[in-house]
Symmetry: C2
Subunit: 497 residues, 2 copies
């Protein structure tokens, strides 16, 4: 058992540097976050993984409600005809959707099969996103300017039958939050879409300790049915970019497709403007790849479900009592603490397990600590170890939790800055992409044609046109890195998940 | 508009007494709880309806976690082969399930149709309940006695393709919580199943203000795959019973079907014992029918998302400021308050709307109140009206909220007691059932044959064999009401939803 575990660890260490993709899969399994199921591309979210999602939900749910959006729940199934009303939308999702065709099984002797007499008149699509069924209902809910703005949100499961799946990053079914709003005026719609992007951005900074880049998607990468898609992109430690959240300005696309009009103060019937925005369990994948290290996960304290783990170095009665005493102090101070009291495992085994699980702080308690009334505190991110008197524990722990949170954010920001390159030479561009150097900022003529050619030659795609430091959007003297034509934007290119 | 509304109200009043089923549908629509969708038997949970579900979730989630159960998430889709492993289980659900057969649409000229080349090798069933996929996974999670007891829970959507659907009570898709546990010993399993039933029971009493009856289901009514099903039954105001929550002792049925064994302290491989338990959005239907009256809903304060609504009788600036002042006092005291500041509606219209929505307390604020520094408080349940100085508002409101909660519970309990009859004569039984008198407690020989005959003749079914006041379970001298054979139980019979 010990040998096997040390092998696994060695692999984790080796893979972190040389086979990040394998490290990612292993750490999910070893940290007990999730496991694959027999259902194609679907994972099982285990208690530790789900607890992180619950924290994301709780925090974001309050922030979303503070904007005036109200939670609702719409049906899982979407009639095929709805789905087809917005032409771009259906083309974006039709190739990868689960379709319900029948509603009954029957027994044929020993076998149980579909009852062909129980075929649906119209097939249902398992929602890949809910714009169509929601806009079909907005038609009933929106009559006058008094009904606007209308802001709703739902926490739900969605289904996209993608070819290649990876736990958290791309699964056939995933959990997410989808907000949908309707507005009288395009400026209000746009500022709502940006407000939601900012909420996600700040959540990333304050809780996930991930510095997102805000930007706009290229036409080729935008949401099927949107006029504009705003995005949050993050750099992972293997040099690949990950899209972490999006907010769409839908313009009048869905209001026209579903005939959603309001009576204005001038007594005119007008189409409304829409937005939609969402984040998903993919954020857990971002956490893993932004902060993990050779030893496993590192969970930022502000999103962790266990902030401190107490490990008894001995099974002595006094040690157990003293652990309980320390645990209660921490609970009182609202620190999320867990005592690992499994007496059948050696301390080293437990250290290792909680390191892999990325718990921010470990407290060791042995006989000496009981005698001296002290505790040993170990930081997961720096491995720093200190021994302090127990009466100091609350301020010390709180201070260290803040330090870890800040440190993780700064590390991720530094990493990104060190792996972002302004490049205006295509040869250099290709080399940097080939060597997985990170994010490449380059002038681009703004055409889909150029974007697709660069993708074909290098696999890199336009992740976004960043909002900041991009004066070039308006006035850019540069030449497109690929065509040498006049550049329209400075865009961020990268290999992406 | 006014005429139309007063018509609607008259209907509500009339229907409450003479057409309860229509009253139920109307009140759901008028109170903005939910609406039907075009998807067969699926409803849309609107903000006000969903907010009640969120409160149910938040409270029960904490109670469930306090038992040691951890939240998880399993795939929506269940491979048909899993579903078929437990023979009773598949028979119970096969006739009403949504089946996914394909994973791609394709464009045929102008039409978009199923791509027949994208047929799944094995069909997936949209989960009607998750025992099969969870027990298939328990096989991997349970190796030794140290892994037990294992307790998990998930909040999820499920799908049952029932013939006749009613909002909240029976919908093709619904939201619920399903807990699943595994144990070394049958007594521990049984006491866990009962513990969960008690949690639901107390939740009903303390929050929903509904007195549930705890009991055990007959073999005919128990869960497909359970050894025993414990149930909570409630009496609705039309004399029908509603099953509000169930907890199942699964015995070894699923551990045998999925080969889930643990290594005991004696080093033997043994099958584990299982339980599962759940409540759903049906509880909102119970709330509506247990407490509503001629004017609409009455929401118990402890589960309400709006406990107090403030209505400005005038649009005067002083009134607006004073309302804000009262609102802030209530917010500070953690009372859930909403100001209805729609200045384009007459007060009478607003009174009516909030009455239909069943908000426990209404506060009216007019010019006189500003002058006198008073507020007018109206109880939804008794229509009692008092005028108090504003500096008394917090203790008064808190006291009234408690009184309303208690009053609703007592009313429901009284109603049930007045509509429960011990009957040992079959003619009287039939008359009482025919007249929708409520719950009938009668001696029964305990056979499914008798149960089905009574059902055929009267439509009444065995709701449960109640735990309390049922000494007859052990020792009963009575004769079965139908067969005159020796009675085995005193059972509760009723027409049910």
């Amino acid at each position: 058992m010990d040998n096997q575990d040390s092998n696994k660890n060695n692999n984790l260490e080796y893979n972190f540097t040389y086979n990040f993709s394998q490290w990612y899969n292993d750490v999910i399994q070893l940290a007990d976050l999730a496991e694959n199921s027999d259902v194609r591309g679907c994972m099982i979210l285990k208690p530790y993984g789900y607890s992180i999602w619950e924290n994301i939900q709780t925090i974001l749910n309050a922030k979303i409600k503070s904007t005036g959006a109200k939670n609702v729940y719409f049906p899982l199934f979407i009639p095929k005809s709805y789905f087809c009303k917005e032409a771009t939308h259906v083309n974006g999702f039709a190739k990868e959707c689960a379709i319900v065709t029948h509603y009954r099984l029957k027994s044929d002797g020993n076998n149980i099969n579909i009852d062909e007499n129980a075929k649906l008149e119209e097939e249902y699509i398992v929602r890949p996103t809910s714009e169509t069924i929601i806009w079909n209902t907005f038609k009933k809910w929106i009559k006058s300017y008094r009904d606007l703005p209308l802001k709703i949100n739902q926490w739900a499961n969605v289904c996209r039958w993608e070819m290649r799946t990876r736990p958290f990053l791309r699964t056939s079914e995933f959990l997410w939050q989808e907000g949908h709003t309707a507005h009288i005026d395009i400026n209000e719609a746009k500022s709502t879409a940006i407000e939601m992007l900012d909420i996600y951005y700040n959540f990333g900074k304050e809780y996930l300790a991930i510095p997102f880049i805000k930007g706009i998607k290229s036409d080729n990468e935008k949401f099927a049915g949107a006029d504009e898609t705003y995005t949050l992109e993050a750099l992972m430690q293997d040099g690949k970019a990950l899209q972490c959240g999006t907010s769409h300005l839908l313009g009048k696309n869905f209001s026209k497709a579903f005939d959603v009009k309001y009576l204005s103060t001038d007594n005119k019937l007008e189409y409304v403007y829409g937005t939609s925005w969402g984040i998903s369990t993919r954020l857990i994948g971002a956490l893993i790849m932004a902060h993990g290290d050779k030893k496993g996960l590192i969970i930022p304290p502000n999103i962790a479900s266990i902030q401190v783990v107490i490990i008894q170095i001995s099974n002595d009665n006094n040690v157990q009592e003293y652990s309980k005493f320390i645990e209660n102090k921490l609970i009182e101070a609202k620190v999320l603490v867990k005592v690992d009291n499994r007496d059948y495992l050696r301390p080293g085994f437990k250290f290792n397990e909680w390191e892999i699980k990325g718990v921010p702080i470990r407290i060791n308690i042995g006989k000496k600590d009981v005698e001296n009334n002290t505790v040993e505190i170990i930081r997961r991110d720096t491995n720093e170890k200190i021994n302090i008197p127990s009466n100091n524990i609350i301020p010390t722990i709180n201070e260290i939790l803040v330090k870890i949170q800040t440190n993780l954010y700064n590390n991720a920001l530094n990493f990104r800055q060190q792996h972002t390159f302004e490049v205006d030479n295509y040869e250099e561009f290709k080399t940097k992409i080939k060597n997985k150097c990170g994010l490449i900022i380059s002038p681009w003529d703004g055409t889909t044609e150029t974007e697709l050619k660069i993708k074909e030659e290098t696999q890199a795609t336009v992740r976004c046109i960043p909002f900041e430091n991009n004066d070039s959007i308006i006035n850019n003297d540069g030449k497109c890195i690929y065509t040498n034509n006049k550049s329209k934007y400075k865009a961020i290119f990268a290999i992406n998940y």
